[in-house]
């Protein structure tokens, strides 16, 4: 049986090609199911965690395994495994399970048609994570950690989390697609924790890349500034709970659009729910004409970059909202097939242990034409919310946490405030965006998106600053 030839030296090919390709493709030649695919992965991860004066964890882990997914009369099965030596048995098991399901439902298997692809995609990193010795990774992080710890006497601890991965993946399906793909991923969060008189506040910055380790360099000044903000937040008030005009900086606006609209654009929410499909019908107005939103796998270098998704479909730039109106959604082959729409290369799995489902890549509010300074000018009582600690949605309502905020009074930034929790509703909040900035950014971090038990998936949120009216803010 195929041995996945591993060892992450650059000289070794991903696999023993001659053996693997023909064996896998022949395993998939079956007439007892409608569709079948195999995905194999071999990954080396590095994880580093620093906490104050302590190194909490340094590990290099190897994740190695695969899965078989089969479809029969509308019924899916998914079998994943760490042991590849009996892969024939796994294929049999997947087919048997798909038949068990399919025979009970006897529906039509519907997958959007795509042309078979045979390709080997090797990335050309600017700085390869495998070329950077652990010493250098550690020295860089320990230096940032030290800068934060000494930035203010009130900084009592830190939270520095770094991870990188080099992934080799093979995908083959019963339609003749055979793709060998490499992926690189790097992300780092650097947070300072300030503590005084029983109060604790934190603030920091983050970075990520899919092709350049050296993106992590040069943060000496940034981490010092962020640590000082953390210390400053110890005496900051919280905004009063209520409804405000808020301005989101690019980092926060990116998470906002991910939660506010990205998830609802995922085809699996819609394809088996005709009532929702009607609500989400193409052309519906979600925002004012100044609002354009897209999701793309094509932005080389960001963590949301992706050449082929986990169904072997090439990724693309998919517009979701154009001039305020709904124009697209993110599809797997099944959700596209059932809705009679085009697959968008959005079927993603966090690793071989999970099946692909419609997910985001780099979700962006397109750059606008308002100078961010102008957004503040006519605001009498508002908040400028800066950076992000997370977000969550249930489809209709969403919530996201800002890192810190500035009170805006009569067009002026006045007092620094501790970061509030904001909430919105997809059908009203997007329409309340009345300004989109010129200051587009693609911020990346070490985290990622979670859905259906699959977390974290590398995603990016690009956005300029935006201004939104009438947002419910939970403060004090």
């Amino acid at each position: 049986m195929p041995t996945f030839d591993t060892y992450h030296s650059k000289k070794t090919p991903i696999i023993k090609r001659s053996v693997m390709k023909s064996q896998l493709l022949s395993l998939l030649k079956r007439d007892d199911c409608d569709y079948i695919e195999i995905r194999l992965e071999d990954t080396i991860h590095t994880q580093i965690k620093l906490s104050g004066k302590d190194i909490e964890n340094v590990a290099e882990n190897c994740a190695y395994g695969g899965n078989v997914r089969a479809l029969y009369k509308g019924g899916w099965s998914f079998v994943s495994f760490d042991t590849l030596s009996d892969i024939e048995a796994k294929v049999d098991m997947a087919v048997a399970q798909a038949r068990e399901i399919g025979n009970r439902i006897s529906a039509k298997s519907q997958l959007a048609k795509v042309d078979p692809i045979v390709d080997t995609y090797k990335i050309e990193p600017i700085t390869d994570v495998r070329d950077v010795p652990l010493t250098k990774k550690m020295d860089t992080l320990l230096n940032y950690n030290e800068i934060m710890m000494t930035a203010s006497p009130d900084i009592k601890s830190t939270n520095v989390f770094y991870k990188d991965a080099w992934i080799k993946q093979i995908f083959a399906n019963s339609e003749g697609t055979y793709i060998e793909q490499e992926k690189m991923d790097m992300g780092c969060n650097m947070y300072a924790i300030a503590s005084k008189g029983g109060r604790t506040e934190y603030f920091g910055t983050s970075v990520g890349s899919s092709n350049d380790w050296s993106k992590i360099l040069g943060f000496e000044k940034a981490v010092e500034e962020k640590a000082k903000i953390a210390a400053g937040l110890l005496t900051a008030d919280k905004p009063k709970s209520g409804n405000y005009t808020v301005i989101l900086n690019p980092k926060l606006a990116g998470t906002f659009i991910h939660e506010a609209f990205g998830h609802l654009s995922e085809g699996d929410n819609v394809y088996e729910n005709p009532e929702l499909a009607q609500v989400m019908s193409m052309g519906r107005e979600f925002g004012r004409p100044l609002l354009n939103v897209y999701d793309t796998g094509l932005d080389l270098g960001v963590r949301g970059f992706l050449k082929y998704d986990d169904e072997g479909v090439p990724t693309e730039k998919t517009y979701l909202i154009r001039e305020g109106k709904l124009v697209g959604r993110l599809h797997s082959r099944e959700t596209a097939g059932k809705m009679g729409e085009r697959p968008t290369g959005s079927a993603r799995a966090i690793n071989y242990k999970f099946p692909p489902i419609p997910r985001m890549r780099n979700t962006c509010i397109q750059v606008g034409n308002t100078d961010p300074e102008e957004m503040i000018a006519d605001v009498k009582n508002g908040l400028l919310c800066v950076d992000v600690f997370g977000g969550q949605t249930n489809g209709e309502m969403f919530t996201f946490k800002s890192g810190m905020a500035w009170k805006i009074e009569n067009g002026k930034k006045t007092e620094m405030l501790a970061g509030p929790l904001l909430q919105g509703n997809v059908f009203s909040t997007l329409k309340n965006i009345d300004m989109v900035g010129t200051d587009y950014e693609d911020p990346d971090a070490a985290g990622g998106c979670g859905k259906g038990g699959q977390m974290p998936l590398p995603t990016t949120h690009g956005s300029p600053s935006v201004r939104i009216h009438d947002v419910v803010v939970s403060g004090k």
């Binding site: 042991t83 109060r199 309502m397 929790l421």
Partner: protein, 447 residues
């Protein structure tokens, strides 16, 4: 292979610990009222912790015959690894909670499909446009841990979960409710309760009613009590105490909550989802009092944190803070995390408590509560599923509102009641067995 890794590693390092985790889980699922999929996962992985020159290295692998790779990676990372503070487990007696169940093992695909389908059949009359989702999962885990100090323990565990949910899209108004059963014992016996809970929430949620901003009396359903424990857990984790960021750090022996509140971390209860003989570093499981009658009793700690704090490890060294997170498998480093968090029941049934509320709110699901800083004691989130209560009756659903509660204050001064009925529930972060809790002075901000 575990012996091979141990033997080889012993030659390279001063002391070592090897874990082997093997699991097979099967899930069947219905989506939008229709049978959809079946999923099987088979995992086999190894983790090594190795001490040399006062440092402790960690690595893992799911690759067969990766013995040399594992040892090589541990050697490479050793120089930068944390200082070894503790010793690996020695041979010890440990409790043996009942965590296997022949009834789970006997569940074949057909009976799982039947149970999942029964949930759909029992719920599809809720509304003409309702979409029912349901699923049944079984999981069989074998864990073995060996150390160079002579510990060699293993256990087998069966888990089962059943979940059901209902979705209604009515124009721009979405209603989504769900409930689940989980345990290391057969949980199918709770099927009728599962169905009636989903029906109850769905029926209540069909009508939206306004709520005024301000302070309210809030009845937290067990799933929302999970969010409360998420905040409390951060302050009773020995890691926070050691870092001097826990507000509870110097309060052992003090009254920190209402005298009716008692909280335990207990991995020794038969059939609960996080019960087991020993934790992921071989420390025997135990029942750890955290708060008893409102008085802070102690903290949870893995071997490393316990050593730093000068206390006995509490059997809370786990390879992740939650088993549903993707890193919760063999590749996660051991850290201090809760097992089954338990809040002791009160005297009155939750239905009677609800019937006694004149003006209040029932909160079932909060969104975003984990994004704040838990060490401040503030629980804040969007009320994903919550209801208005007037004169002992639910009048309808609350939407577009935020809840904010300072738990350190409210759990001390504003506990109104705790229910006599408790529920086992689970989230990505923790497993719990808790009652309903009625708390006063909770701030709601509404649109």
């Amino acid at each position: 292979m575990i012996e091979k890794i141990l033997d080889k590693a012993k030659k390279e390092f001063d002391s070592v610990e090897v874990a082997e985790l093997k699991r097979t889980d099967t899930t069947v699922g219905f989506q939008a009222n229709v049978l959809k999929s079946m999923k099987t996962t088979e995992r086999l992985g190894y983790a090594l912790r190795a001490v040399k020159d006062g440092k402790i290295a960690f690595t893992s692998s799911s690759k067969p015959d990766d013995v040399d790779g594992i040892i090589e990676r541990a050697k490479v990372t050793l120089k930068y690894s944390p200082t070894a503070e503790m010793e690996f487990a020695k041979s010890e007696n440990y409790p043996k909670p009942v965590i296997t169940d022949p009834k789970i093992k006997q569940l074949d695909a057909a009976s799982m499909i039947k149970m999942s389908g029964d949930a759909v059949d029992s719920l599809c009359d809720l509304h003409k446009n309702v979409k029912i989702m349901s699923g049944v999962s079984t999981d069989n885990v074998t864990m073995r841990i060996m150390t160079s100090n002579g510990f060699d323990g293993s256990y087998e565990k069966d888990d089962m979960s059943v979940g059901a949910g209902a979705i209604l899209t009515d124009g721009d108004n979405f209603l989504q409710v769900g409930h689940g059963l989980i345990g290391s014992s057969y949980v199918g016996g709770g099927f009728n309760d599962l169905i009636s809970t989903v029906r109850k929430y769905f029926t209540w949620g069909l009508k939206n009613v306004p709520i005024e901003s301000g302070k309210h009396q809030v009845l937290f359903a067990p799933d929302a009590v999970n969010d409360i424990l998420g905040i409390i857990q951060a302050s009773v984790n020995g890691t926070s105490v050691f870092k001097k960021v826990s507000p509870f750090g110097d309060k052992v022996g003090q009254q920190v909550m209402d005298s009716r509140v008692s909280i335990f971390d207990d991995s020794t209860v038969d059939g609960l989802p996080s019960s087991m003989p020993f934790d992921d570093e071989g420390t025997p499981s135990q029942r750890t009092p955290i708060v008893e009658n409102g008085v802070l009793k102690g903290f949870i700690a893995d071997r490393t944190v316990a050593k730093k704090l000068g206390i006995t490890p509490t059997g809370n060294g786990f390879r992740a803070s939650g088993k549903f997170s993707s890193t919760s498998e063999i590749e996660a480093p051991v850290s201090t995390a809760t097992s089954n968090m338990i809040i002791e029941p009160g005297k009155k049934n939750s239905d009677d408590i609800l019937a006694g509320i004149k003006n209040g709110v029932l909160v079932v699901a909060l969104m975003g509560s984990m994004m704040g800083n838990p060490l401040t004691g503030t629980l804040a989130g969007n009320i994903g599923l919550g209801f208005v209560i007037k004169d002992g009756q639910v009048t309808g659903r609350i939407k577009n509102a935020m809840l904010s509660v300072n738990l350190f204050e409210v759990l001390k001064d504003s506990v109104v009641d705790i229910s006599s009925d408790t529920y086992v529930t689970s989230s990505w972060a923790r497993d719990i067995n808790v009652p309903y809790m009625l708390l006063d002075n909770c701030v709601v901000a509404a649109k």
